[in-house]
Symmetry: C2
């Protein structure tokens, strides 16, 4: 499978995370289309504002990474679609609903005005509607899952949802606190990101009726991919040429978020530099515009982005190992190769 994976990526000309993801989405294009249809169908309500607001976020077009992982894991674990049997698509839609609910709530609590380069839902529809539609999508996800009827899938996704909320609360309590350890930071990003990645992959395996071995391998793949993904995201927030991301560079800095780039620069800094970080992160309200430039300089000087990306690559490597070591015998080496490529190139972004 390993060599199959290498071949596949070579064939595709995949050389960065974005292209690897696109290749995976293309390979599963039919499933993804069905999933998009399911998402639109299931966010309907007799209260018109609900699909309107939900559509705003859907139209903004995220990568649909989490549902893609459900679909890929299900297929890799041998889920065979016979006739109308498209359970993996329903579960994938639920995972996207849970994720969307957290995005809606995050943007409210962070008072974000932009999401994926467009006005955020709360900016357009107000905080109240965003909170309530988030609640609706979460409830709807569990309605769909109940109808699907798999207790193991529900156990995985309800636990991941609780962990997600815990991760967000933990992140809130580490904000403005430079005594946060790297381990604590890793716990935060596991909760806020990796737990749902892991759950997405594991539910795909469960839907496919996979054995515990395959289930564990896919869960590990997802968890490690999620860690890598969030580390890269946190690094990019300090990458000055990333305005193309649709998020403003330095958002985390302005909010006083304690992420690995900051911790790495802080720990590697001299006394005066550490004092700068304490002042700007722990009392982020007092920041002036020039502070971001100084922060970027210090991050460059201490290679804090390099440190963060190296750790992302470590997790990505673990994700590949989880998948390759499992020898999942679905016969779909192409798909296995694409999943390996997604992990391997996560820490290499085209933009």
């Amino acid at each position: 499978m390993n060599s199959g994976g290498e071949e596949a990526t070579a064939q595709e000309g995949v050389h960065d995370g974005e292209t690897a993801l696109r290749a995976l989405a293309d390979y599963l294009a039919e499933d993804m289309k069905a999933c998009n249809r399911e998402i639109v169908a299931r966010m309907q309500s007799e209260v018109p504002l609900i699909p309107q607001l939900a559509a705003h976020l859907v139209a903004a077009g995220g990568k649909r990474l989490r549902p893609l992982l459900v679909l890929a894991a299900a297929r890799l674990a041998g889920y065979d679609v016979q006739g109308d049997d498209m359970r993996h698509v329903g579960v994938a839609a639920c995972v996207e609903f849970i994720h969307t609910a957290t995005l809606l709530h995050d943007d409210v609590v962070d008072n974000s005005q932009l999401r994926r380069g467009l006005a955020s839902a709360n900016a357009v529809f107000g905080n109240k509607a965003s909170v309530l539609v988030g609640d609706f999508l979460f409830a709807r996800a569990f309605q769909i899952l109940t109808a699907d009827g798999s207790l193991p899938v529900m156990a995985i996704l309800s636990a991941a949802s609780a962990t997600l909320a815990e991760g967000e609360v933990m992140q809130m309590t580490t904000q403005n606190d430079l005594s946060t350890t790297v381990d604590r930071y890793l716990q935060v990003i596991y909760g806020k990101t990796a737990a749902l990645f892991a759950a997405a992959c594991e539910t795909g395996a469960v839907v496919a009726g996979a054995d515990e071995h395959t289930r564990a391998a896919l869960r590990d793949y997802g968890a490690n991919l999620g860690m890598a993904f969030q580390l890269v995201d946190d690094a990019l927030d300090y990458a000055a040429d990333q305005a193309v991301l649709g998020k403003t560079v330095g958002d985390d800095f302005r909010e006083g978020k304690v992420t690995l780039p900051v911790l790495a620069a802080y720990h590697a800094g001299n006394e005066e530099e550490r004092a700068f970080w304490v002042k700007t992160i722990e009392d982020n309200e007092s920041q002036v515009d020039a502070d971001l430039d100084r922060a970027l300089d210090l991050i460059a000087k201490t290679d804090a982005i390099g440190v963060t990306m190296a750790r992302a690559r470590d997790y990505a490597e673990k994700a590949c190992q989880a998948l390759e070591g499992a020898h999942i015998s679905s016969g779909d080496d192409k798909l296995a190769g694409l999943l390996v490529a997604v992990a391997r190139y996560t820490a290499v972004r085209s933009r």
Copy 2:
């Protein structure tokens, strides 16, 4: 059963809704204690802020009406606790978690500073923590339900949760809009309140293994009780002597909420009075202090409270009929009588 109910309430000296509820809670004191223990045990998390914030609301001591309904319905439907079998307690805790989550989110979106006479969670812990802990409690509820393993219970509670969010969104869209019909208003209060009352009673029946007939009767009881309950709540918001409730009189008026007291006064008013309502409700930001006094005068003049309470009594009567007509043969006539009394006296409050 009817006469049993009358007797029971006569014996208890029950003559208003508060006393009837207290009598029911006393009768189920052991179950309620177990439920309170379950609530405290299940809101734990390794993230300390979560139980802290949840405890703030729990300590504020609501009536625990919804879990009480689960417990009562289960017992009335013949649920017999053998040894450690306390499933109804777990389901009751979940219903309270779902309700608590909506309270936390409501207070954030309404920017409420008070809840049950104490500082609201968002006032003490901030909006962000309140939104996230609400999400946590909701996820935790579905985790507990998944472990309980009853798909019908999960179907009822996930659907009720979605209806709840829809009701809240609908309420938001009717706010400041005096063209809202009474039917629409009734739809709103069904969604925001009655749906979870109905679900609480129905899940109690399901846990007890009740037949469809009993299940439907208890669901109807809960739905009608919930309607009566919300109508009374909306009436009390204009009852000038209700400062004891721990909520400020006139909150709904100041927010421009379109409730039945307002609709009744508006529809019964002359042209000048209708203009007053349009000005103050549709542009609630422009209200001055004297407007509330005028509103209370008009509500008194048109007997809008009387109209609202009469409708509450209609629903309460339907709740009693649902229960009495079902002839649920658990042998616990005392409990049946207490439930009838709760409904019958809902529209009679001691304070």
